[in-house]
Each structure stands twice: as C-alpha cells, then as structure tokens.
Amino acid sequence: MNPTLSFFYFLSFLTILSAIMVVVSRSPIHSVLYLILTFFCLSGHYILLNAQFLAAVNIIVYAGAIMVLFLFVIMFLNMKEEEEKFRGNVTKIAAAIVGGTIFIILFGAYRKTQVGTYNPYEFKSQTGMVESLGMVLFRDYLLPFELASVLFLIAMVGAVMLGKREIGERHF
C-alpha cells in the first residue's frame, strides 16, 4: 500500500468519524467543532485530488467564516444541553428507514460502478490551480458565473428587506 492510499484511508476514516460525531454529540458547540474537523478533512481530500485552490477556499469560507457565524449564533442563543423530548419513536424509525434506503441505493450504485483508471503519464499538475480554474470559469462557465450575481443580489435584497426595523418596533 503506497503512502497516498494509506493517507486517503486515514482521512476518510477521520471524515466519517467526525461527521458521525456531528450528529451524535449532545452539545451544539461540540457538533460545530466536529463539523470544522469534517471540513478540514474534506480539504485534505481536495488536496489529494489535486485541487489546491478549492482546498484553500473550503477552509477560508466554510471552516473560517461560516463556522464562526455558527458558533456565534449558538453562543448568542445560549443553548443548554437539552434532552430531545419532542421527537417520537415513529419519526426516528421513519428517518432510519429513509436514511438506510438511501444508503443501500448509493452503496449498491458505487459498488457496481467501474472507477476510471489512473494514468500517471497524463497527469497535469496545474489542473486545480487558480489559473486553469479561472480559464474554465471565465470562458466556459461565464453565463452561470455572471448570473450567480443575480442570486446574491436577491439574497442581499431579501436580507435587508426582512431585517429592516419597522416603525414602532423595539429598539435593542
């Protein structure tokens, strides 16, 4: 077993373990911390896939900005470790059935799929670099790239509209 492969297995194990811990942890803060670990592991996968830029962006945006926001909100809400009482057993069983079915479908699909073979002579070291990414983004995917701005504009307008204080509302 070559070192890359063993590193891949180690990373995958860590990713799945921390992802499970996100769901299992009782305290929301622990969940978020495990989620950060998951994101770091995923960034490791991106580096193994020769996508260095994506790995960096993943850490900056997800593990950095969004996770800080998450932690901030959780501390703001001052959540206590509470027992979940409102969920009945029926919901749990239904969720387990649905999740298990999807797992079986995906597992079966992956098992029957032939994975593309790897040819070391065709390896391009520049694939995941910013330059080639920019080439694809601004040449082939120019239209979706520009139209994404409409999406962000909608999100901004919506946030301002919903967040604006109305006349007669409480001042904090």
Partner: protein, 464 residues
C-alpha cells in the same frame, strides 16, 4: 436570452426607483418592464434553435412559449398587487425587484442546457420565493411559512446538487447533450451511478413542484404566505419546474425511459390521491387551493410519465390553463378575504364567500369560471388541458393511471363546487366590494382567455 438580460438589469432599475419619494411610479414601471421583456422574448421567435455561451442556454419555440406563459402570468399577478398602496408596511420596490429577478431564475430553468444553469435557476427562483413568503413580517404564520420553506427547500436543493454531482461522476459532463450521448452509448450496460443521480435530481425537482411525497411544505407555505405571492408561487414556480423536468427527461434521459417511468408513475398516482383527497377536508379556501395545486402537479406528472410526442403540447397547454385559472381564483380571494377580515387578518375560509353572487356578480362569475376550469369542465381551458394530458397517456397505454386520474377529477369537482355553492346558494352579507378598474380588467381578461381556449384550443397550437 433577451428576457434574462433585460430583467436582470431592469430589476436593479426597480430597486433604484424605490428611492423616489412617490411609490406610485413603481407599479406602472414594473408592468412596463414586463412588457419590454415580453417583446424581447419574441425577438428570437424566428431564429430556430439557438445556443448561447458555449452551450449553456438554449432558445427555441418551446422555451419561448414557456417564457411567454410565465411572463404573462407575472404581468397579471403584478397588476393585481395594486402597488401595495393600501399597506403602510409594504416595501413595493423590493417586492417587484424580487419578482423580476425570480423570473430570471424561471427562464434559466426553462431554457437550461447545462445542469449548472438548472441549479442556479432553481436557486434564484427559490430564494426569491423564500423571501417573498416571509414578507408579511408581523404575521407569525408568514414567518413560520418562510422558515419552513427555506429549511426544507435548502435540503431539497442539497439533494438535487448531490444528484447533479453523481450525474457528472457517471457521464463526465454537466451538459444535457453530454449526458444524452453517454446514455445512448451505455444503453446496454446500465450505469447505476447515473440512475442514482437521476433519482436524486428528480427528488429535488419534484420537491419544487410539490409532488407527493415531497409535498409536506406546500399547504403551510401557501397558506402562510401573502395571497398575492402564493399566486406567484402556484403559477410561475410550477410552470418553470415542469418545463425544467420536461427538458431534463425528454432531452437527456429519454434513452432510459424504462428505468424512470415506473418510479414516476407511482409518484404520479400518489400525488393525485394525496392532493385531491386531502383537499376535500379543508375548511379554508386558500388551503384547498394549495392541495389543488398538488393535485394539478399530479395531472402534469401524467403527461411527463407518458412522455410521448403530445407531452410537450399537453404540458404547455395544461400549465397555461392552470395558471390563468389559479390567478383568477386568487384574484377573487384577495378582495373577498380582505373585505371579510377576522381579527385584522384576511378571512380565507369558505364562509367568506357566502352570498357573494348577490352584490358582486362579476367576482362570482370569475370565481365560477376559474373553478370550472380547475375542475376540468368542458368549455373551459382546463377541460382541454386534462384532455391533452389524458390523450398522451392513452397513447402510452397507461389506462390504469387514467382511471385513477378520472376518479380523482370527480373528487375534485366536489371541493371546487363547494365555493361556487357558497357564492350562489348560501345566504351571506357580502357588501359590494369595490375593486380598481385595472384589477377588473385583469380578472376579465384571464376569464375570457380561459373561456376562449376552452372553446377553441386550436388557437393555442396555431399561435405556436
């Protein structure tokens, strides 16, 4: 392509117009912009099949017709808003801008040639809808609806994105043509990764058009959102969603029809049963319309499941007939519910319509025609919509599905006629409701179109 560019820019113009002191210019400006987009839409009418930006976006007569239906529905709904002049808390500039932007998403879903475009279009349309659902900030039900819609919608989008990733993993391409050629090459040896991806994408899309069993958000969201935005949701999101589903299934996956039709047919029957049977038990007219929109998703799914040559025409005609009738229904509901308000909130129950015909014969007539069209009674557009849908299913010999659909249409007649009975038979004290002249024109136009296409459905095909 023109309407996308035009509306992206004109939406920003509407936002800037919001800075003006007088808000009364917003409504005519937005209507003008929609007309401009409609004119731009028909610039490419005679150009045949066009591809833009390295095969990202396709334009042909089918997409242009879908665009026209969406634009026309949006025009009528915007005209019915009356500029939100009677509401101090309303922010019309933002509402109109969000509506125009969301149409950009609808056009992307109608003409996408690449799955990235589909995903972005779905997101643009949905995010605008989440915001508009929650736009009635003081209303707790509106807040709840927005949060529910947002959380569930984000989850469904995630599932769809996972599906798109699997499709890419299987075929190595995001473009419809690339996937299609992969499907035709590998018809003998099925690629299970592709199948799993297709199923997940279908789940995501069926959530957006509220087909059972992904319909749980629909009644609460339709009920909680302000009625005018519910009308927008019920017509435009559904039309764009089915245009996208049709494009995806007919273009890329027609080669593996045998794989997806059993799944889709089960969902179709389930949607028909759930939508129609639960609608019977509703006391609120608005909630009944929500379930009726689920059931109409079921009828449209019949056309999609049969996937014959007639499907294209059937989906076009059905979504048009359904949109006009739904706009009429909401157009009557809004003034009536406002007139009969209970504890400061619009009263949307069936009782609000009691005795409507005595003092408001026009509103009662519009309501009757729209209900007849939704129920599929002859001489309305809805009848021909159902007729085309069923005949495409006959061509595929899906007789059992038609039997279920006809039975469910009979159930539908019961709950659609309940409100007509309330308007004409029951005693009530509805005062004469004053409605603006422009509002009246929109209602009459939509009603006349419903009757016109009911008398001469050939007009529609002749126009194409």
């Amino acid at each position: 392509m023109y309407p996308i560019v035009l509306l992206s820019v004109l939406g920003i113009v509407v936002l800037y117009l919001g800075f003006l002191k007088s808000k009364s210019i917003l409504l005519p400006a937005t209507l003008l912009f929609l007309v401009v987009a409609m004119i731009g839409n028909f610039f490419e009418w005679n150009d045949g099949e066009l591809l833009y930006f390295k095969g990202m976006f396709a334009v042909n007569k089918l997409t242009l017709t879908f665009n026209a239906i969406v634009l026309f529905s949006a025009f009528m709904i915007v005209a019915m808003t009356q500029g939100f002049q009677d509401n101090e808390e309303a922010q019309p500039a933002e509402y109109f801008a969000l509506m125009l932007f969301s149409l950009v998403g609808a056009f992307m879903m109608i003409g996408f040639e690449n799955l990235i475009m589909l995903f972005l279009g779905v997101e643009i349309l949905s995010v605008a809808m989440y915001v508009l659902t929650g736009s009635d900030k003081r209303n707790l039900r509106s807040n709840e609806a927005a949060l529910k819609y947002f959380l569930m919608g984000a989850f469904a989008t995630g599932i769809m994105l996972f599906g798109i990733a699997l499709l890419y993993g299987a075929s190595g391409s995001f473009s419809l043509n690339g996937i299609e050629s992969f499907v035709t090459l590998n018809q003998r040896s099925p690629s299970y990764l592709l199948y799993a991806g297709l199923l997940l994408v279908l789940i995501g899309m069926l959530f957006k058009v509220s087909a059972a069993p992904f319909h749980f958000w629909t009644p609460d969201v339709y009920d909680g959102a302000p009625s005018i935005f519910t009308a927008f949701m019920a017509t435009i999101v559904k039309t764009a969603g089915f245009a996208a589903l049709f494009r995806l299934l007919s273009h890329s996956f027609s080669g593996i029809y045998d794989f997806w039709w059993p799944t889709l047919s089960i969902l179709t029957v389930l949607t028909l049963l759930v939508g129609n049977i639960i609608a019977v038990y509703q006391d609120s007219f608005k909630r009944m319309l929500a379930y009726s929109s689920i059931s109409h998703a079921g009828y449209l799914l019949i056309a999609l499941t049969s996937m014959t040559k007639q499907t294209e025409n059937a989906i076009l005609f059905y979504s048009m007939a359904y949109s006009f009738a739904t706009i009429c229904a909401f157009g009557v509901l809004i003034p009536v519910a406002r007139e009969k308000s209970l504890e400061g909130r619009p009263n949307e129950s069936y009782e609000a319509f009691n005795g409507l015909a005595k003092n408001n014969p026009l509103l009662a007539f519009v309501l009757t025609v729209s209900m007849l069209s939704l129920a599929g009674i002859p001489l309305t557009a809805g009848f021909w919509g159902k007729f085309f849908v069923f005949s495409s299913a006959v061509e595929r010999e899906l007789v059992w599905m038609i039997i279920v659909a006809v039975l469910m249409s009979a159930v539908g007649i019961y709950y659609y006629f309940r409100v007509i009975m309330a308007a004409y038979m029951k005693e009530g004290d509805t005062a004469t409701i004053r409605i603006a002249p422009f509002y009246k024109i929109v209602l009459i136009a939509a009603t006349l179109l419903t009757i016109l296409f009911g008398l001469a459905p050939g007009l529609f095909e002749a126009a194409m």
